[in-house]
């Protein structure tokens, strides 16, 4: 149980890290939102899953803790994608055009002469 929990926590940390890396590496606003939203949702699921397993082992009022953790996880699973949707929608409504390979080519052409 401890081993699985450790594995889940490490995996969650890795997913969160890769999400952060994605935010830095992606070319424009919309594609940056994608790693931020999806990786966060998966990472919290893995981390909280790891914590739940850890608490199932311990004695005492662990069921209450497990319940609270699951509630937090469900809440985050619902709200994180909604927040991502709201942000990207607001960006789209305010007229931000998505990045395409052609738009960078055009920019480079404008810069080069």
């Amino acid at each position: 149980m401890e081993m699985i929990s450790d594995g889940l926590l490490l995996l969650g940390g890795f997913v969160a890290f890769s999400g952060a890396l994605g935010v830095l590496r992606m070319p424009d606003f919309y594609s940056r939102l994608h790693p931020a939203g999806t990786a966060d949702t998966l990472a919290q699921l893995l981390v909280i899953g790891g914590l739940v397993l850890r608490h199932l082992d311990s004695t005492g009022d662990s069921l209450l803790v497990v319940g609270k953790l699951i509630a937090i996880s469900v809440l985050l699973m619902v709200t994180t994608p909604t927040a991502t949707h709201a942000i990207s929608r607001a960006a789209h409504l305010s007229g931000l055009a998505p990045w395409t390979r052609r738009s960078t080519d055009l920019e480079e052409q404008e810069e080069s002469p």
Binding site: V78, T79, T82, A86, S94
Partner: protein, 350 residues
């Protein structure tokens, strides 16, 4: 090295960086976001120091309500900072001098966490023994919820006991300050008769705060969450004596539910659920409830805010009852003042 201390130092460095970045940022929207990040970092630092009530307040008020308020203000005034001409050398000298004096002052303070510090020796043992708000009570029935077995004649959350009992006067006047802030705002931000065309364009380019949101996803998920936010708010309110929480945090949470509702479904829909006169009434009713509890204690023959006077037979339960009433007063005032501020900052033609 202690990993928790390492984490604290890291978080503090990040908090300072966020604060400096918020000052340097010329785009006001970015500034507001950085201040929100700063508050969230501070909340984590408080949680690390086991100051759960402070952490809770910082997260709900600093990162939540304040950010929303500032964002709403930005939708009206635009996000560009007026540039130039506001740097003055005398002001810089004055600020630096004050900073040096303050730093000199802190050198006299005891070291962080020093067990010999006056703060740890004078009154803290009292707090830790949970003597505050403790009433000797021989008449409590053995199966009472506030009996010896469960709470041992004291309120389990020492912070609430200190807040509502030990320094109940302070908290009452804090509530009065919040109330008067709400009153001042009602007087200052009277409805603007006509809007300039400039303001309207800003409103239309950003998210308008008057109409209902057009996104089905937002309306569905938001509508689903509102009842849970409300239930959590009431839980924090009623659970304040036992766990972290209390009137201040609960007030903000309940207000947040209604703010979310008005953002999603439009203000007229929210007004149907929560009429404006009710908000105005609740604002003063909260302070009245707090002071009224104090007066009731006097009427029962005790001192002002001496809750144990409310029930001579079961003073411990009376103590808990008094704190619950007082916290309810705080919650009412905080929630209605936050709602009033948001309504006024949203502004509008009505």
């Amino acid at each position: 090295m202690d990993p928790v201390l390492l984490l604290d130092v890291l978080l503090l460095i990040l908090a300072v960086l966020a604060a400096v970045a918020a000052m340097l940022q010329r785009d006001l929207l970015g500034s507001v976001m950085l201040m929100g990040i700063y508050s969230l970092l501070m909340a984590v630092i408080w949680a690390n120091l086991f100051a759960m009530d402070v952490s809770f307040t910082e997260a709900s008020v600093g990162a939540g309500a304040a950010t929303v308020l500032l964002l709403m203000a930005l939708t009206r005034i635009g996000t560009r900072e007026r540039s130039g001409g506001d740097h003055s050398l005398p002001a810089l000298v004055l600020v630096v001098l004050t900073g040096v004096v303050l730093l000199y002052g802190t050198s006299e303070l005891p070291r962080f966490g020093d067990p010999q510090a006056p703060a740890q020796l004078h009154i803290a043992p009292h707090y830790l023994a949970q003597d505050i708000g403790k009433v000797s009570d021989s008449a409590t029935p053995p199966n009472s919820p506030h009996g010896e077995g469960d709470f041992g004649h004291h309120v389990p959350n020492t912070v609430t006991a200190v807040l509502a009992s030990y320094r109940g006067y302070d908290t009452m006047f804090e509530t009065a300050v919040i109330f008067s802030a709400g009153m001042c705002l009602l007087l200052l931000l009277r409805p603007i008769p006509r809007r300039s065309p400039e303001t309207v364009t800003i409103d239309e380019s950003g998210s308008t705060s008057h109409q209902k949101s057009e996104s089905v996803v937002l309306r569905t998920i938001g509508g689903m969450l509102i009842p849970y936010i409300l239930v959590f708010g009431f839980y924090v309110q009623m659970h304040g004596e036992i766990g972290p929480g209390g009137g201040f945090q609960a007030g903000v949470l309940v207000a947040a539910a209604f703010i979310l509702h008005s953002l999603l479904f439009g203000r007229t829909a929210t007004d149907r659920w929560l009429p404006r006169w009710l908000v105005d009434l609740a604002m003063s009713l909260g302070v009245l409830l707090y002071a009224g509890t104090g007066v009731a204690c006097m009427a029962m023959g005790g001192h002002f805010l001496d809750y144990s006077a409310l029930d001579r037979v079961h003073p411990a339960e009376a103590e808990a009852l008094g704190m619950t009433l007082v916290e309810a007063g705080v919650g009412l005032t905080v929630a209605s003042v936050v709602l009033t501020i948001v309504r006024k900052v949203q502004g509008g033609t009505r």
